[in-house]
Amino acid sequence: MDKDLDGRFERVERALERMVESLAKNHPSEKLAEELVAADTALTEGLKLLERHQNNYARIQALRQETAQLDTQLKDLISSAYNMRKELKAVPVTAIPPNSKYDFTTAQLLDYARRISRNTLPPPGVTNGVDLAPTPAATQPEPDDAFPVQSQSQSQSQSQTQTQTPTTSFNLSSNGAGTPQQPPTSQTTTTTTTTATALPPHLKTTLNPLHNAAFYPWPTESQIRSGALAAVQRLAERGIDPQGYDPEAEAARRRAEEAALKEAEERARAEREAAERRMREERERMARERARARQAEAQAGGGGVAARRAPKQFTFLGGDDDDEEEDED
């Protein structure tokens, strides 16, 4: 390029020299002038070419820079992909054993679902601080989900107005069944706040017992503290070896001991009473014997009265008791 340009310059210079010479000799020649013009045109062309050359060169440089930049970018991407892969490989994955299929019946599944629902689904309205307000994009497909045929067959505006009520009632009924569908509920309340039946927001939070309640998908600390492990720990702290120790059996044993003690007392009391009764009977018997002896004595004296009174022994006995008491006194 430089050589080419140098040649053109030389040609212009030579043409100019010759022109000047001829002019100095006062002998201008048209041919020389034409040559000078041609040389000048050639130089201009050469300069234009140079300009293009320079532009192209700059462009090549820029492109080179760009490729270098893209290369580094690519390298970065590849290395980050490599790192990502390494990280992914390091993440522990759930190892699913090859024959991990277990048989179960629908009834068992439903039973299990019922049992765990208390711990896996928060009660209605409990959001743990997560904003569950539906985004416009999320609410749009809701009628589709509930009534796919209807909303697809009808125009959007129609389905919007027609399915509004059924959708909310559907969600409300499922709310009653224990599934918290907070987004639709809040949606309905916001749409009905204009009516007079809506509660002011500060009352709504006060009246809701679950307001600000949190839902934990694991046993809480108080549950752990009141559990079996804690009970065993308390036993250990009291110095009792929990192995083979059963508080209930212990309590039953204590109860049995108490019952045995009570029974023994009862028996002793019964024996005492029996002894007393025996003594009383003995006394009565002796009294009767004495009375009989007295009767015999009386018969020996005035038999008439005694013979008449003999059949009425009980009244006689009663009268005699008094006598006996008197005797004892």
Binding site: I116, W218, I224, A231, V232, L235
Partner: protein
């Protein structure tokens, strides 16, 4: 673990008998089945895990062997007794990783697990 001094022998145990047939020895009035079911679910509580870590349980080889043994809860017929399934199974799985056992001593990680867990508990049924 409240039952006695820990030894590595615990890993050699078979899973306890199911409650329908359980008639074995009792610990403080509870069967081994009851105690282990309660423990494995308590482990799902990040705060409890953090507490165990701070008491150096999670670095005790015997306890690690016990954690390995506790994995029988992830299989029938025991699986169906877990009433906090998601958190229990995941934590039990994580507890098999030494890195997790070491890092759960950080209150930040425990707090993060709690926040994430509570968020997931609300969000998992959002779309479905």
């Amino acid at each position: 673990m409240a039952s006695g001094p820990m030894s590595v022998d615990s890993s050699a145990l078979d899973p306890p008998a199911l409650p329908e047939t359980a008639d074995g020895p009792k610990h403080g009035g509870f069967s081994r089945f009851e105690l282990e079911l309660e423990l494995v679910q308590s482990l799902a509580n990040p705060q409890y895990l953090n507490y165990l870590a701070s008491r150096k349980f999670l670095t005790n080889p015997a306890f690690v062997a016990y954690l390995d043994y506790l994995q029988y809860w992830t299989r029938p017929p025991y699986l169906k007794f877990i009433t906090y399934p998601a958190a229990t199974i995941k934590i039990l799985e994580l507890l098999q990783e030494e890195k997790f056992r070491e890092e759960i001593i950080s209150p930040d990680l425990a707090q993060g697990l709690m926040v994430e867990g509570m968020k997931d508990a609300v969000e998992w049924h959002r779309e479905g």
